[in-house]
Amino acid sequence: MDASDQPSEKQQPENTQVMKHILEAALLTAAEPLSLDDMLKLFDGRMEPATLRMLLDELKQEWQPQAAKTTMELVQVASGWRFQARAEYVPYLARLNPERPQRYSRAAMETLAIIVYRQPVTRGDIEQIRGVAVNPNIMRALQERNWIDIVGQRDVPGRPALYATTKTFLDDLNLKSLGDLPPMETFTQQDIQLEL
């Protein structure tokens, strides 16, 4: 195909190689999956659906692991056909869109601080100190991160779980032990002065 004879709208590709190129270009540039009807439009409706299916199969074969064209795979999804990046490249692509590092809410930080400084504590302890109910999601998030775990139950009615910080927590904060945390004297003295 020659680029120079483009303007005519009714131009038709001469051979199946060019047809496959047109299909590939369409599939690589389409934002959405292309249906078979969409793809027939590429050829002004002058292609048999059976031919189209055959070309799609061939195109699929051309994009294979170990082939010259290998980074994408041609797949069929509910609304049609699309190329998609092979799974092995996805972890690299994800680096382009790192989620902005999240921050813990104030409630989560205070809950964690209470567990750090008053462990082992129950949810009741935390609620008493903070004066508000503990959001179960916060406890779950801290447990899922393996920063806190349950080390026992308090021997009171309901036998509430006792929470404590884990070794992972110390590792993640680069501490050898809780004793490495800066002592709080400075603050408490200051605070007492404020109260006087």
């Binding site: 699309r82 990046a85 994800a94 400084y117 100190i129 080390v151 139950q153 006792l162 904060l173 603050f187």
Partner: protein, 260 residues
Amino acid sequence: MIVPASSARIHGETLAELPQDLYIPPDALEVYLEAFEGPLDLLLYLIRRNNLNILDIPMAELTQQYMAYVENMRAQKLELAADYLLMSAMLIEIKSRMLLPKPADIEQEEDPRAELVRRLMEYEAIKLAAQRLDEMPQVGQEIMVARVWYEQIAETQPPQISLEDLMAAWQAVLKRASHFTHHKISREELSVREHMSQILRTLKQHGMLEFSALFDVANDGLSKLVVCFLAILELAREGLLLMTQQAACSPIYLQINQSE
């Protein structure tokens, strides 16, 4: 002014001076007007049409043409943009200034046409630049960009916290819970608290343990042994573990307090 629709020469001789291709039936004037982007565009059209082979445009004639055109618009009761009237005023002003005899002492005054010419030429250049821009291939029109789907798994990073964050949170807790404000948290106490958790973990794993099993006398220094002992006492005080001894001097056993 009522203009006969059949008349080809609406304003008599004034319109007769308009170039042939400018003549339009009055009822098509509105459509025609839309073809102009404003007074500069109209003026430029008049100039360039008159000026195909000659360089110089007679100012008086140009003004007359323009005025005729604007008058025509007005006669059609078209909503005449103020821009057109402003341009009319400007042309009349230039014309009148040029007709006035120049006093000898201000001969250096700039030609009143110069500014108009500068604007016309600048507008003309922009007009051509706009056409050129419009002809350029654009993404989505003549340029199709690769846009292949991929499974977007953002690299999730759990929140990072610093020691400062942690202490700030604890201070905030203390400030609000006034019964804690005088509570002094020392390194030792923190170590005790940490050991309390560890001992609970150990007991949870082993059930009952002999007292001495909680101490690693060979490896732990004295201070650590003391901390461990304090932790056991604190756990007992808080009712978190049970200490049992069958007889005096017999081994002391520790277990998590699970009495109902």
